[in-house]
Each structure stands twice: as C-alpha cells, then as structure tokens.
Subunit: 392 residues, 2 copies
DNA sequence: CTGTTAGCGCTTTCAC
DNA sequence: GTGAAAGCGCTAACAG
C-alpha cells in the first residue's frame, strides 16, 4: 500500500495520458503526484556514436558504477571483474567523455593563454614553455591573441571564461588601460597569472624579468661606448614593463650626468608600422640621437631597417640596443646588442604559479611576484669602438 | 490503486530503508520496483558558484524551460516574461555553461590545430588566418605542436580527440611515416583538414600551394642566372610537399639539360641543427654546388649563415633560394630570393573547408584539394649577374 | 505561452 | 564487491 508522503493519504489515481509509455499517478487528496517508471526494455538497440561506460556495462551484464570504479582504479573491486572491464574497454577503444566529467566537476582541464601576438619569437616561446609544464599536469591549452587591442582582449577573456577554462595566463595588450575584465575573472575565483605585461594593481601572481636593471645596463653600455644623445623608443606608459625600462634608461643617464631630453623619449603602441614612423621621425630630427634603446627586439630591428634605408651607419653613427634576444638579432647585420631573457622559463614559471593557484584554496592564493634575470649580450650594433673591447 | 506495469499485480510494499528521504516500493509478485520521489522542499538554500538558468527561474517563480527558451531567443514567449528573464540574466551576469550544452549536443565548439612548430613565421601566420575564420563562426581553437616528432603527433591527436574537438586542422610532422592516427580520426567521423604538409592517401580535404611549379620556377631562375651545379636541401621524402618540390627541381634541371647528381640532393628532418650540418657538408664537397634550392626559408637562412661563416660569397659563389617568403628573408643580407605563398590565406581556406565538413553530413564529405598560387620573389641571394637584370 | 520530464556520460553516495 | 539512483546544467519533446 502506498502512502502519499505529503498528506499521508493512501489513494492514488492514474490520470489519463502517458508520457513516453510512463504512467503518472496523482494523490486524491493533495497535489502530490509522481510517474511510475517504465519497465526495463532489453530489446532496445541504440547506436552510439562514441563508446560509453554504459556500453561496457551492458556487454558485461554489470552496472555502470562498477565499470566506472574499475576504470577509475578503485581498490574495492573484484580482480576478475576489473580485468574483464579493462580488457573490454581497451578492445572497444573506450575513451572517457571529458565533457561529462567537466560538467560534473566544473573543471575543464583547459588553460587559456592570452598574448598580444605570436608572430615573433617571444610569445611563441613562452607559450611553448607553459605548454610543456601544463600538458605534463594534464591540461590542454587554448590560445588567443589580442593584437594589442583592448577590445579584442576583452572579447577573448570573455570567450575563454565562457569556455570555463580552469585558469588564465595573460600578457596584457598595449592598448589596455582598464583592467576590469581581469577583475571579473578574479571575482569569479578563476586563477589568473600575468607574465611580461603584468597588472601590478591586481592581487595575483606575475612573472617578469628584471626590466629595470636590464634597461639600466643597456643604456649604461651605450654610454660607455661613447654615445651621448641616447633616445628611447618606449612602450605605452600603461604597461609596467614600459615604465620599468624607461626608469632604467632615465637612471642610467642620470648616473652618468647626461641630460634627459623629453623629445628623445617616445612612447608608442608596439605596432610595426608605428615603429617605422617613429624611427624615421627620430632620425630626421635636427639633432638626431646617436643611439636608440628600443623597448624590444622587433622594434630595434625596425629601427635598424629604417636607419639602413636612410644610409645611417650602424654602429658608427647610430648605436642600437634591443631587448629579449630574438634569434633574428644575431642574424641581422650588423648583429643586434640586446638583453637576453629566459623566455621559455617565463612560460614555465607562469604555468607553475598558475597550477599552484588552481590546486590551492582561494583563501591561500598569494600574489607572488617572480622576477627572472636578464643578461646583456653585446653585439655589433652598439660597438662603437671596434678595436678595443676591454677598457684601457 | 497502482498496478505493477510488469505483472499487473496491484500490491506494492514499502521496503525498509530510505534513500535520501525517498521511499522505495517493491511489487509483491515480481521483481519490479520503483522509488517514490521526495516531496518538493522549498526551504532549500543552495549556494551556487555560477549562476544557472535554475537560479533565474526560481527568482522569477517560473520554470527553467521558459528561461532557456527566452535566452535562446525562441519566438513563442510572452514579451513581458522574456524581458524579465533577460533583465535578470543581465543583472546576475548569467553565462550559459557550455559544458552542459556540449554534453547534450556532443559539440564542444573547439577546433584542434596541430602544427609541427610555431617558432617561425609560417605556422603562426596560418594559425592566425584559421583563427580569424573560426572565431567568426563561434569556434575556439586548441593549438598543439608536434615538434616534428611522430610520437608527439600521435599523443597530440589523442589529446585533442579526447577533448572532443569538433574538427582538426593538421600539418603533418616531418618524422611521420604512419598515418593510422589520422585514419582513427576519420573513422570516428571527426572532420579533418590538412594543410601544407598533407596526407594524399587519406580521403579528406587539403590545402596546399603549387609546390611543383614554385620549385620549378625557383630552379629555372637559378639556371637562368648562370648557376650550373644546383643542390637541393629537401624535406623528408615522406612528405608530399618534399616530393613535389623535389620533382619541380628535377624537371627544371632536365628541361635545361643539366645532369642530376644524387649527391647534391639531401633529404633531412627539417630541424635547425641538421640544416646546419648538411649545409656544411654540401659546401665542403670536393666539387661543391654553386647554388642551393632550400625546401623552406628557415633552411635557406641556415645555409646562408653557414656559407657566410665559411667565407663563401653570396650570390657570387653560391646562389640560394628559399620557399615561403618569411619576413626575415628581406631583412637578412644579402636578402633571400624565395617563393611567396599566401600563408594567411592557407589558414583561412583550411578553416573554411573544415567548417564545410562540420556542417555537412558525413555522406556529403568531399576530399577537396585546394591549390593556391606561389610567386617567385627575386632578391640578392640569387642575382649572380648584378648589372643586367634583363636578358641581352 | 508555459510547465514537466528525460537524458547527454559520468562520479558518487547510499544500501545491501 | 556491486547496484541503483541522483545530479552536474542544459535543451527538446510533449502535454496542456
């Protein structure tokens, strides 16, 4: 005898209508009702596109829970059963559906990587480093590029978030002035790690190199080589990396009692096109600089090409130093003096920090600031004194 | 009165034990049984991490189907209800969970891209082209690189397949001789499109450039410039692109009645290191070649660097032609003669073909072979006769 | 126009 | 050691 769990009445009536062969019952006294499940029908022949644990269970005449347990390596399973399951799974080329798992656990095992571009050496190499670490930890990687555009960056972050990535590795676009979209990420408690182009105002881990000292060394090296009017083709002031390298430049000038000329400091948006324009501008000044410290190697290369096309001799009339040691720096003639940074390592470190955040509770999150070393590589583009390399 | 749907008996008994407050009933006569659902408990206060349609439905006192319909833009919905739902969704920053959808539809909206590497200009540019098309169509992209290794390629394909990508864009690794892993992809009816490094033995779309004619032009150009012992640093014979470019090379020699010397044709695995080794080998032959046609620009660049380091004069003593027009070709000195190919367009075309496969029924799949044009760009590295560009 | 229900594939209680 | 059932969030079929 069945009692209604709501009103304790004993009578149920079957209402008219059947849902897909199932019978529905309603309590006579209250609004409580339920549907009687349909008797199991073994003569069903579904054609699955992908093998599921249910297929294995059915073929073996056991329940899917047991299959699941065997596949997941639970201990309390009969050894024989386990073997049957594992063998059949192998034979059927069973592949667990990560979507089901993801839905259940709210974890996709996907990491989003957002970079400004990946045409040059720098970001691809970082990505390779990150991928190396992440794929070892069982994560796949989704890569987006902002093309230095703020709008694209916002769109990409939204896309990655709506793909429910488990974490985000980001290098900010040159045009980004507002970081609310990253705040939203942290608000949803999705781990976020910045590298190279970071957001110091956000409480989240970041990996950079020692930009200040690198820039300082670069400019001091130019001064020691005898250059006196040193320009700086800098990145947008919104980026910390630009500000740090600028400060290194300024302090090196100051240390050597060289005047700072604001006209020789140009902030630009890191696009190839603008690099060319500003290089031309600098070289056509009434009193052009005798050296340029460029924010990065692609910029330095553009400057070299412009200088060459104008017949300006490097390094005699113009010294150039870049940043990052792009392989092209050693190929171009004259070869480019630059600051080596452990590019691949940046990616690996960032990935490690991200994994740490993912595996820790939100309350334990720590905004670690990792700073890696740079190393000046002196090549031809800044060696004014050709004969003597050592000081007298 | 409730009848057992299996044996038509009328009596059910409640067995001892309650599952999470639910009561289970068993037929007295047969083994049929069911569980009576628990009465709805409105005083439940779950704390969700992410906003779901259920949250919206509950707050509005309507059903989640209605919310779903409103959000999906179905027409048959009361305008007022729709507005309420849309407003609340906005206010709650509701984001649909793509995992639930993916599980339901077996579509992830993710495309896997597998390339040999992305350090140089070529593959990143293709990826950008593909991404442009795919993201417009609502797809995200998952990028893997095989590092030219067969094993890594197999691993990557498996990883992408187990991520249930909706389609695959692939350029094959140099070391790949066996394509069973791609056969498995097609067997599972996952759309697959090859580009650049293709598998002609598989019945699936592919995008290449006119490698044969490109190579033919390149070598004919060298011959016209007066070079007579032309070597070819080729890719692995397993790749169609290597075979086509080799054939172009051979036919150009034949057309101009130049002998083919097997010692001047070297197949290699496309790694930077080996390029250097073989370049050195060629240049140290008792009768070294007076020109080299390289399978691609990175290879040509390596050859140039080796030649320079050995004091071999380019183009006077050694003519060099590459393939692809990597930006570095116009930067290096002497600038590199090469074949321009519409790199970005390759990615776009491949993406279009893939989208077509995805949207078509498997029975309609067509192994289209798209061939894009190449264009010889003559630069300094092959201009032996410096003064006269035109024939007499 | 709206509500109810099943089910995508899987893991995880709970019960035996 | 194994099975039954719930549920992750969503859409679609069906009933009203």
């Amino acid at each position: 005898m069945i009692k209604c769990p709501k009103c304790r009445e004993v009578e149920f009536v079957q209402k008219s209508g059947i849902v897909r062969g199932k019978q529905r019952y309603f309590c006579k006294s209250c609004d409580y009702h339920f549907t009687l499940p349909e008797p199991p029908n073994p003569t069903e022949g579904k054609r699955h596109h992908q093998v599921t644990i249910m297929d294995i269970a059915n073929q073996l005449g056991i329940s899917k829970s047991t299959v699941s347990r065997a596949l997941r390596g639970h201990t309390d399973i009969h050894a024989g059963t386990r073997k049957m399951i594992l063998d059949l799974a192998q034979q059927l080329e069973y592949q667990p559906n990560p979507l089901a798992n993801a839905l259940l656990k709210s974890r996709t095992n996907i990491i989003g990587i957002l970079v400004p571009e990946f045409r040059h050496y720098f970001f691809p190499t970082i990505i390779m480093g990150a991928q190396e670490v992440l794929s070892k930890a069982g994560y796949n990687v989704m890569i987006c590029q902002s093309d230095e555009s703020y709008e694209t960056e916002v769109t990409n972050v939204k896309a990655l978030m709506s793909s429910r990535v488990d974490g985000l590795l980001v290098s900010v676009a040159a045009q980004t002035n507002n970081v609310d979209h990253f705040r939203a990420v942290l608000r949803k408690e999705v781990p976020l790690v910045f590298f190279n182009r970071v957001c110091p105002e956000l409480e989240t881990p970041q990996v950079i190199v020692d930009d200040y000292n690198g820039a300082f060394q670069a400019v001091e090296h130019l001064i020691e080589q005898g250059y006196r009017r040193i320009a700086h083709l800098a990145g947008p002031i919104s980026l910390l990396v630009s500000r740090l390298r600028l400060q290194g430049y300024l302090d090196a000038l100051q240390k050597h009692n060289l005047p700072v000329e604001n006209g020789l400091i140009i902030h630009y948006d890191l696009t190839e096109e603008k690099a060319r324009i500003y290089a031309n501008y600098l070289l056509s000044l009434p009193q052009p600089p005798d050296a340029i410290f460029a924010i990065n190697d692609p910029t330095a290369i553009e400057i070299m090409l412009v200088a060459k096309s104008r017949g300006v001799k490097i390094p005699q009339e113009l010294g150039i130093v870049g940043f990052s040691n792009d392989p092209i720096s050693s190929i171009i003639e004259p070869s480019l003096t630059t600051l080596e940074q452990p590019v691949r390592e940046i990616g690996k470190q960032a990935a490690h920090l991200l994994l740490h955040q993912i595996n820790a509770d939100v309350s334990e999150w720590k905004p670690v600031h990792q700073v890696l070393k740079t190393h000046l590589i002196v090549r031809e583009s800044s060696r004014k004194e050709k004969v003597t390399n050592e000081p007298a």
